[in-house]
Subunit: 488 residues, 2 copies
């Protein structure tokens, strides 16, 4: 009977029970009505009733006439939750790319809960999200009945690309044709498209050191080889790039990640000259350029003459939310067809309703108003953090890269790198999430720091959390100092 | 002055003019206020005023005190719209994958407008979209203030995966652990992840012939080689697969695309045995299994014993909308880590609000209610199309694959394949969009049809459009018949 898809009451009962225990319906959640489940499974309603009666008899569900059966929360709670088993993929034949990814990619983990303050970079405060504006824009997008429900342009909706064209010019002096814009699912997908279109196995690519690790992982997944180049207070050391033969360089000129330098114009021209000489591509990741405090804007590489080798990358992950997954590329004219073809086979196009909603916010000026407000709030947060660090640590902490963006680097003088793990653990035990900079350095080069440095993101925190977090961090440092004196 | 990012009034004027002509603001659209533009560009407000005054003097914009300047539509209309130039990428150094994509991928084109009926497969009727349910679910998702705005699980929100786990079991008898589910941006991304994790350059993969071309393009982009295997009325000819050495087979067992056969259980077991013998993967694309009319459900490969080599692929593109870009994979336990790593570097995760909205619709039963309604409507459309074809063409048209899905194949006996282009053009000139099946056949094999066959999608059309479309199609066929008699 298996083959016709019809199931007996016993198998239905067993599967439902497994699902209830696996919390498919949540605790106290409702199961489907017997009528609708019978229709879906193609069995008689009485078959479902038998299964439901058995589950009710065993205390898994409550059945009331005329209502959908509900899970009995207590019954579920009593059964230990089976732990998710993400089986290892050893002995499984993966592609070379798959094997590389499995080796290099760091595994995503649930954000820690219940911390007093989590200085994790990349998170935003839910209170900054423009809930009513986004709701309004989204409702309008859903209500607008389109002529077709059909796949849209792989490069993104024309309406959004027009709106972005104007925005990019106003906010970043970027002048481009609408057809050079490719809407992507966040900058991560932008990096991925670049890796696939521009790198082959064995190619070399320049990475800032320290730098953005997930970019390195996605480029290296192609089989290409990272060439780390040191970063100083002004960003990438372009003199050192000059001698390197490579296909591509990944750069963050507006606000180097993580050290925060702003690449001077002279270095920008050096980079462009290098790219021209080597027939190489520059990936300009302008990930947080909306946030600029006491520094003048420097125009992106994309706006400088001879920018036909620059792929410019922007995102709303730092202005609206990283969970929306919307970003955009400005690609050289000669690459338009390749990017369109790649985006189409990768996922057809970015979800259309989000694109419409963002376009509406850009057109009405709501987006730029929101960005101005977010900029003010983050300027306040930054000020709070600078003051708290100064108050708690005085000269012991040297701050780097605070002129722009949503994070800074705090170097703890006299706290040797060997104490890093201890500091992270001790701080966590006191309720503070801190993230060392050392994993962002290339592990093969000599340039790694010898004192503890933390990448401190502040955009998800309020002033009180920042103040409290710094106090607890100071406690943690003090505790580690004491331990160091003990063991000496 | 360029280097500080400050611009003079002339450059601002020139750029605005180019944008107005390029319709960045639409015709009659509003430009930013001088205050906000000045703030964005970091120049004085009077600089913007000078630029705006020049544009007004030239008739490009209307300036009124206290309001944002507006584009003068007539001025824009008078200037010929510069055609989008998607420059060719010749002489540009792309990766091997990039070069293959550029060669193989068909370019997306705007859907034709103003047709009486467009029988294009894959489009849905906007009147079927559950506007108010989606709006409600989306508003709830936006309003629910999360603890963090942070990257979520690359495999998808736990809430949605739990809801899908129950749905997949109820609707498709698929039993799986929540961790086997990976939420993707439509089935296209599911195919892309599979191509990257499971295929290397030089590997061979089995494709149904005729088959789904964009799957072939994405698999072949890795450098792997397609091995076409013929399809008959029962789907893939698995006897022929048995002798083939390959890493992967892409199959559509529920409703073969495009011919519509339902793969019998015996063939399913043959496929599974083949995969086991060759250590190969089966990609089971269950793209339209929600639509089943006069055929019994056959359980997916995924549900049959020994399914540790099956990657199951589903989508809401055929039930809600192709523009939402939500799909899901059920992967074998051993592949979970690799899929999680790949999804993370590809785009972090699928947009979260959509996932929450879909989860809410699944939990409340709204989704399944919607699917039942859509099924009824599409059953009516299918009936209309079958009747209209019979009435207009009688025995001349042989229908294939109408038992399930959202399309059928209409074979026109006595209309030689050489007349195919003529028929498409003639039908289009009469206001009907029709799409021949021949491009879905492997171009290297002998199995191509010798009479015209059309893949007729009906899910975007109402009964009147179907009736009118078939009448006009009959006119077109008659016209071609007459021409054929003439030239004989």
């Amino acid at each position: 009977m298996e083959t016709s898809g019809r199931m007996g009451a016993r198998r239905i009962y067993e599967t439902l029970k497994a699902q209830i225990i696996g919390r498919t319906y949540g605790t106290d959640g409702a199961l489907p009505s017997s009528r609708s489940l019978a229709a879906e499974l193609g069995v008689s309603r009485s078959t479902i009733t038998v299964a439901y009666e058995q589950l009710a008899a065993e205390g898994f569900i409550n059945v009331r006439h005329g209502a959908r059966p509900r899970v009995v929360g207590a019954a579920v709670g009593a059964i230990e939750k089976r732990e998710a088993s993400r089986t290892s993929a050893r002995n499984i034949h993966l592609s070379q790319l798959g094997a590389r990814l499995l080796k290099d990619a760091s595994r995503w983990t649930d954000p820690p809960r219940g911390l007093v303050a989590n200085f994790r970079y990349g998170e935003l405060s839910p209170s900054d999200f423009p809930v009513s504006a986004w709701k309004k824009a989204m409702v309008a997008a859903i209500s607008r009945k389109p002529v077709h429900l059909a796949y849209d342009d792989p490069c993104g909706s024309l309406r959004l690309r027009r709106a972005l064209q104007g925005y990019l010019w106003r906010s970043r002096s970027v002048r481009c044709h609408v057809d050079q814009i490719v809407v992507v699912n966040g900058s991560q997908q932008g990096l991925d498209i670049c890796s696939r279109l521009l790198l082959d196995a064995g190619d070399r690519f320049v990475m800032e050191d320290p730098g953005y690790q997930i970019a390195k992982v996605v480029f290296a997944a192609t089989g290409a080889i990272a060439v780390p180049v040191p970063v100083d207070a002004d960003g990438l050391d372009t003199k050192r790039v000059a001698k390197i033969e490579a296909r591509l360089a990944y750069v963050t000129p507006s606000h180097q990640y993580p050290l925060g330098g702003v690449l001077p114009v002279a270095r920008r021209y050096e980079l462009l000259a290098w790219a021209r000489k080597h027939d190489a591509w520059l990936i300009e990741d302008d990930y947080d350029s909306e946030y600029r405090y006491d520094t003048k804007p420097v125009p992106p590489l994309q706006t400088l003459q001879d920018s036909g080798r620059v792929v410019y990358l922007g995102t709303v992950s730092k202005t609206l939310s990283p969970t929306l997954r919307v970003g955009y590329l400005v690609v050289p004219a000669g690459l338009q067809s390749a990017f369109a073809a790649a985006k189409q086979v990768m996922d057809r196009h970015t979800p259309l309703l989000e694109q419409e909603a963002l376009a509406a916010m850009l057109e009405s000026g709501t987006y730029e108003g929101h960005v101005r407000r977010a900029r003010r709030r983050n300027a306040e947060r930054r000020e709070s953090l600078l003051q708290a660090l100064h108050r708690r640590f005085g000269d012991r902490v040297r701050v780097e890269g605070a002129a722009a963006g949503l994070h800074l680097v705090a170097w703890f003088e006299g706290l040797p790198i060997a104490a890093e793990d201890d500091l992270v653990r001790t701080a966590r035990s006191k309720g503070v999430g801190v993230y060392p900079i050392s994993p962002l350095f290339d592990q093969r080069t000599a340039g790694r720091p010898d004192v503890v440095g933390l990448v401190m993101g502040y955009s998800a925190l309020d002033a009180k959390q920042i103040e409290k977090g710094c106090k607890l961090l100071a406690d943690a440092v003090e505790q580690i100092d004491r331990l160091a004196n003990w063991t000496r």
